[in-house]
Structures are given as structure tokens and as C-alpha cells.
């Protein structure tokens, strides 16, 4: 056991017009400390990504009033926080810190963000001049992945819809979820087309909020009053256009998953619960295939017929309702994926969706655009 997740916190807000982004970071820090039973003075490592306002950890460490001896501001979009877990575990093993705080917060809902707006990563992004003129937003760059997957493997909109249906079955039990209504396959495929072939209900919500994690060394985790959740394996990867040899049918999760499973010494069939980043339904399907839960191209059949619904399906996923129904703070889903996996391993998920005797779970995230360049990160967690 190299490191443990000792504290988790998901901000309950879904719309925070009266708060600042920095303030949300501070509130999730306090929440995770209280959950772990640790004090702010115990934190000696701090991790944040591009959502942190100002000059990353410089602004945030000063604002939060931390005294740390290790910082990390790795930015891989929504997958950043899973990378941070990996980096925190490595830093703890190396002796660089003992108690690592990871925070995420954002207010895209209050600020009017939408997945149909063209994304801009700055005029100096090397791809900007070659792509910005064509209107790459978030939704249409994922839609092209879905379109190609349907073409090559015969995946259908109805199969993708089952991913949203499963998420909605879970979200009905989450009082904080933005969308708590159970939906049907028909509801999804009859919702307005946003960018072919993705409908409105194939898309995640836009929400304000945030989350935090505390990663610490096993001796400290065991001294606390919370169930001990150990980091068993991690992996991270970046996949892009490969110089123009574009293949949209698979993601970097193939690489990050392979590394995480190898380090953990387990296989997909051993995993009892998965948190899978669900920016769109297609995002989930691609990751499940790449992680080895089913063969490439078989994802449509794998997710259909309620197979992702906790209690009845073969692979319960996103039991908090995920990004599709619960929340998507900062337009970045990796943080909440880890939080719900820890809840499952502690036995603290909602009783209606809690996986019985959940001992081994996986959280996977992607970040950026699956249709152009993205980060992937995997963490395998075990109840110790």
C-alpha cells in the first residue's frame, strides 16, 4: 500500500452566483479536511489544475493559507485530478509530502458556459490556426467520435442512450443531483439533436461546484476514523491526432488503463464498481472498451439493457448520477469520479445504489477533446 485517500468532499452547490471560484476551492478544502478528521496545518502538499484562479498553486496556497513543501499543477483537463492522485501517491512514497490536498472548483453555469461554444485554448496553441476557423466546440468534437464508432461498429443511438438511462436511475437517489428524473431510451433519442449523433440527453450537465481529495500515507490513514481506501494502481496518457493519422475509435484510456491494471495486479473482471467520466454518453462507451471491460466495438451491446445500473446490471457505474445527471463542476469530471468510487469502497454510497461488499473500484477520466487531443487517467482503488 503506497498511499490512501483519507478525505473526500463534493460541494453540494450546483449554482453559485454569489461565490467566487477561489472561495469554492476553500470550501471544498474544509469539507475534505473535516471528512478525513485532519487539520489544515496537517496539509504539506497541494495539487491543483487549470480551474484554479490566478497563478495556480502560487495564488491558491497563499489564498488558502497553506504551508506546503510540495506542489503540482499538472493540467490535463478533466482528467487532471486523477493524475493528481497518481502524483500525490508518488510524492508521498518519495517522502516529498505526507498529506496532499487536491482541489477543483468552477462556476461555468453562473458564467454562461455551454458545450456548443467553440473552445479556445489560446492563440498560441499550436493547433489553433488550423482548427479554430472550423468551429470545434466540445459537443461536436465528441460527436465525431460517436459518428465514427457507429460507422465502424454499428453502435446505435439507442445503445448510447442506455448510458444516460443508467445514470438517471442512480441520480434519482441523489438529493443534490441536477437531474433526478428517471429517463427512458426513448426520452434520450427523442431529445433535441445538438450535434449529430448526440442529443441533448447524451450531454452532461453544466454546473457550478467543486470537490476535494486528501491523499496521505497509509500510517496516517490508518490512524484516522474513516475506512481506509488504498491507491492500488494508476496510469496516465495523452492521445492526439498523431501527426494526421487520426483514429477516433479509441482513447488514451487504453494506455492509462493498461498501466493501472498492471500496477494493481488485477484485471477488469475483478472490478466491482467503476466511475467513468461521462462528458457525453460516447465518452463512457469508448472508455469501457479501452479499459478492457468489453472488446473494442462491443461497447454498444455491453452498455445496453441496463447493464450499468447498480443492483441489476453487470457493471455498476457512476452511482451518484455522474456528469450526465448529478454535476460537472468546472466542466471537469475527474474529481467527482474519484469521490464516488471512494464512497462505494467505504460503503457510504446511497443505500439504493451501494454495491454490496465493494472492495475494488476503478475511476477513469478523460480531459480536453476526445475528437482531437485529450488526457486519460486511471486509478484503481481498494478497501484496505
Amino acid at each position: 500500500m503506497k498511499a490512501c485517500i483519507a478525505g473526500i468532499y463534493e460541494h453540494p452547490t450546483r449554482k453559485a452566483p454569489d461565490k467566487s471560484v477561489a472561495q469554492l476551492h476553500a470550501e471544498v478544502m474544509n469539507g475534505a479536511l473535516a471528512d478525513a478528521g485532519l487539520a489544515k496545518q496537517d496539509i504539506d502538499g497541494y495539487f491543483c489544475a487549470g480551474d484554479a484562479p490566478g497563478l495556480g498553486p502560487l495564488s491558491m496556497v497563499d489564498y488558502l493559507g497553506l504551508r506546503v513543501r510540495h506542489v503540482d499543477s499538472t493540467e490535463t483537463g478533466g482528467s487532471s485530478y486523477i493524475v493528481h492522485v497518481a502524483h500525490a501517491a508518488a510524492a508521498i512514497r518519495a517522502g516529498y509530502c505526507n498529506v496532499a490536498l487536491i482541489t477543483l472548483a468552477g462556476r461555468p453555469r453562473s458564467e454562461g458556459s455551454s458545450g456548443t461554444q467553440p473552445r479556445n485554448y489560446g492563440a498560441n496553441a499550436p493547433d489553433a490556426a488550423f482548427e479554430a476557423p472550423y468551429g470545434p466546440a466540445t459537443v461536436n468534437m465528441y460527436a465525431m467520435v460517436a459518428m465514427r464508432h457507429m460507422h465502424e461498429f454499428g453502435t446505435t443511438s439507442e445503445q448510447l442512450a442506455w448510458i444516460k438511462v443508467a445514470a438517471s436511475h442512480h441520480a434519482q437517489h441523489n438529493p443534490n443531483a441536477m437531474l433526478r428524473e428517471v429517463v427512458s431510451v426513448k426520452d434520450v433519442v427523442e431529445s433535441p439533436m445538438i450535434a449529430d449523433p448526440l442529443h441533448r440527453l447524451d450531454c452532461c450537465v453544466v454546473s457550478d461546484g467543486g470537490g476535494a481529495l486528501i491523499v496521505t500515507r497509509p500510517e496516517i490513514a490508518k490512524s484516522l476514523k474513516r475506512p481506509v481506501v488504498a491507491v492500488r494502481g494508476t496510469g496516465q496518457a495523452i492521445k492526439g491526432q498523431n501527426g494526421g493519422h487520426v483514429d477516433l475509435t479509441w482513447s488514451g484510456s487504453y494506455w492509462s488503463g493498461r498501466d493501472a491494471f498492471a500496477e494493481a495486479g488485477v484485471k477488469p473482471a475483478d472490478i466491482q464498481y467503476v466511475s467513468i467520466y461521462d462528458s457525453f454518453t460516447i465518452t463512457v462507451l469508448i472508455q469501457l472498451e479501452d479499459l478492457g471491460f468489453c472488446p473494442k466495438g462491443a461497447g454498444g451491446r455491453f452498455v445496453a439493457d441496463g447493464n450499468l445500473i447498480s443492483g441489476s446490471g453487470r457493471l455498476p457505474f457512476n452511482t451518484d448520477g455522474g456528469g450526465l445527471c448529478n454535476n460537472h463542476p468546472g466542466n471537469r469530471g475527474g474529481m467527482t469520479k474519484v469521490i464516488e468510487a471512494v464512497r462505494q469502497l467505504r460503503g457510504e454510497a446511497h443505500p439504493a445504489v451501494q454495491v454490496k461488499n465493494c472492495a475494488l473500484a476503478l475511476a477513469n477520466g478523460t480531459g480536453g477533446q476526445l475528437g482531437s487531443r485529450h488526457g486519460s487517467a486511471t486509478v484503481i482503488l481498494e478497501r484496505a
Binding site: 456548443t116 488550423f130 479554430a132 472550423y134 461536436n140 459518428m147 433535441p192 449523433p197
Partner: protein, 113 residues
């Protein structure tokens, strides 16, 4: 967004030539063009593409004021480029459909061949 590295590509496009990158060392073609080869790190040059290819994937953005089609087109030369499909009925677009380059305000786009 144009800069010293990519200006020649857009100058050529304004003259109606669609360029792709080629490495002077390993001879591999690449896209988008860049000064250093993404495969071997060697120096590169721009070469003219034929301007024909077929649709690899696409999506029509519906929920905006002016719907538009974004696409990846695989050129006959073998590299795949991000682009728009223009001068066509969005509902008629199909994967594998042959397309050819057209220029709109100096920006290369594609239309059914």
C-alpha cells in the same frame, strides 16, 4: 493565430493551394503542418496536396444560429485534416463520401466531389 511558423501555409491557401507538411529527413507526411517533424524531429517543408479525399467523420452542429458541419477528411495522400464541409445539404453528408478542397476567405474547406 497565424505566426512565423504557420504563415506560409495560410499564404499558400490564399493563393488557392492546400499544403501539408513533409519531413525532409524521414519523408513522412503530417498534418497540421509544423516546423519540426512530429515523427522523427527532423526539419520539414510544405508540399501541395491534391486537394481530394474522403470523409472520415463529421458532425452537424444544430443548436446554433447558423448550423455547420465539422469533419475530418482523409486526404488521398493519407493524412487526416480537421475542416468544414460546405456548399452541401448537411443531411446528405456520409462517411466515406469523396470530397475536394475549396477556399472560403482563404481558409481551406471541403465540398462533395
Amino acid at each position: 493565430m497565424t505566426n512565423a511558423e504557420n504563415q506560409a501555409f495560410f499564404d499558400a491557401a490564399r493563393e488557392g493551394r492546400f499544403m501539408i507538411g513533409r519531413c525532409k529527413a524521414c519523408k513522412e507526411l503530417h498534418y497540421y503542418p509544423r516546423a519540426v517533424c512530429p515523427f522523427c524531429g527532423g526539419p520539414t517543408e510544405l508540399v501541395a496536396a491534391k486537394g481530394s479525399g474522403k470523409i472520415y467523420s463529421y458532425s452537424v452542429m444544430r443548436r446554433v444560429e447558423k448550423p455547420y458541419a465539422i469533419a475530418y477528411v482523409t486526404l488521398d495522400e493519407g493524412v487526416t485534416v480537421l475542416t468544414n464541409l460546405v456548399d452541401c445539404d448537411p443531411d446528405s453528408i456520409r462517411i466515406d463520401q469523396p470530397v475536394r478542397v475549396v477556399f472560403k476567405d482563404g481558409i481551406p474547406m471541403f465540398t462533395p466531389a
